[in-house]
Symmetry: C2
């Protein structure tokens, strides 16, 4: 959609923007925490959103969390979000509650 989500940044630039090593960035991908696109040639491309996400991941790692825990927390957060949306939708369908 917006510039923020266009995958156009190569890993070296992401390393500069985040302060993380390319090794760390690739590792977080291996652990399914980040999902860059690939060019035809196979090089990774990240978005600014990815950069922000990486900074959050790095902070959680610094706080002693393991990548598996970070992954679980994200999933729970995502599940809550979906559940809330569903509840909102049902309330709206039943009572026409706006916003």
């Amino acid at each position: 959609m917006s510039y923020k989500d266009r995958k156009v940044i190569s890993i070296g630039t992401v390393s500069e923007l985040t302060g993380l090593s390319v090794r760390q960035i690739r590792y977080y991908e291996e652990r399914k925490l980040i999902f860059p696109e690939r060019t035809k040639g196979g090089t990774r491309r990240y978005s600014f959103s990815d950069v922000e996400r990486l900074i959050n991941i790095a902070n959680q790692i610094e706080d002693g969390l393991q990548t598996s825990e970070i992954k679980k927390m994200e999933k729970r957060r995502e599940d809550r979000k979906l559940r809330d949306q569903m509840i909102r939708g049902q309330l709206n369908a039943a009572f026409g509650i706006r916003k």
Copy 2:
């Protein structure tokens, strides 16, 4: 400032986003129409604003304009902008006109 102006995109990706050849992109820089940054290694980095500017340049070229003419028009536009700002500033200083 914003994501739009961060110089983080390499020339190959810019080529994809604009549909221009890397040769064309480098040439417009040679003609002083575009100003990418450079990494320590010397590779060019562009912003989304640069991508937009390139698309505009390409359209003007298609319309038969020469790079020197495009450059002049941009300068004139820039000069008008500065002049208007100055006038606004003087009006405001003299009469306190807001906005």
